[in-house]
């Protein structure tokens, strides 16, 4: 794999850069959002900070990460390779990225309704759902980062 990294064509660098940068922003936003929601203890300001970290940081990070992923996937011609011989790390990364995007969307919708209810003076139960989902996402993306960086097979 190190030999492959050394000979990686220059044209792959920018898509890879976008993919890694997006993943860094995504995980940073999730860590900030989850910790703000976890330690808010009902404080509206921190609950909003947590939600907006997910919406304004994690979501654009996910979009950037996914665009970069698809771009480099095409550049490396993985779409021409039969499923049977495609490496496991690639499937793990793709599955977690896509399923994670869906979970992120659900957590943002739940959180959005939660923030609205908070403004109306109602409870913050839905933001707890957002917290649990963002913790699940954080764990999943750490597995994805390990799979993509370590390439175990």
């Amino acid at each position: 794999m190190s030999v492959l990294a050394v000979v990686r064509p220059d044209s792959w660098n920018f898509p890879l850069f976008l993919h890694v940068l997006g993943a860094m922003i995504l995980v940073g936003g999730l860590a900030t959002g989850a910790s703000a929601l976890a330690y808010a203890r009902g404080e509206a300001r921190l609950l909003r900070l947590g939600y907006w970290s997910l919406l304004a940081v994690s979501l654009p990070g996910w979009v950037l990460m996914r665009i970069g992923a698809q771009w480099i996937y095409t550049k490396e011609h993985w779409d021409d390779v039969p499923d049977k011989v495609r490496p496991g790390w690639l499937d793990i990364g793709a599955l977690i990225a896509d399923a994670g995007g869906l979970i992120l969307l659900v957590s943002l919708i739940a959180g959005g309704v939660g923030v609205y209810r908070l403004r109306e003076g109602k409870g913050s139960g839905l933001l707890k759902v957002t917290l649990v989902l963002s913790l699940v996402l954080l764990a999943a993306y750490l597995v994805a980062a390990w799979a993509m960086a370590g390439k175990p097979d």
């Binding site: 990294a5 660098n13 890694v20 860094m24 860590a31």
Partner: protein, 116 residues
């Protein structure tokens, strides 16, 4: 807010420590790379710069929080001109921006590997 800051500090500490330790280990253990390669030396220098500015960023942000805690302990819960001045300083934001630029340059260096 203090708990969130603690999580952030822990994440930055683990990330910064992990990247330098594992990075140097990789430079020695993976064939095709040497620790004295220009792009690896550049990454280490940028890491040192980002760590130094990052420490100053944390200190700049903590000034306002420490002052607020100090005032709260003293029973002063009203507005404070000194606290307002500390919270309005742009020093923390500027240092944070510079740290982010240094980290971004590390990522660029790691991917493009100039001179490799």
């Amino acid at each position: 807010m203090a708990s969130v800051v603690k999580v952030g500090n822990a994440a930055v500490g683990i990330g910064a420590g992990g990247t330098i330790v594992l990075g140097i280990w990789l430079a020695f253990s993976v064939g095709g790379y040497d620790i004295w390669d220009g792009w690896i030396v550049a990454a280490i220098v940028l890491w040192v710069i980002s760590a130094a500015i990052g420490r100053r960023t944390g200190a700049a942000y903590m000034q306002g929080m420490s002052k607020a805690q100090e005032l709260q302990t003293a029973g002063q819960t009203g507005s404070s001109a000194e606290l307002l001045a500390l919270n309005q300083t742009s020093r923390g934001v500027l240092l944070h921006f510079l740290t982010s630029v240094a980290v971004l340059l590390i990522l660029i260096d790691m991917i493009w590997k100039p001179g490799a």
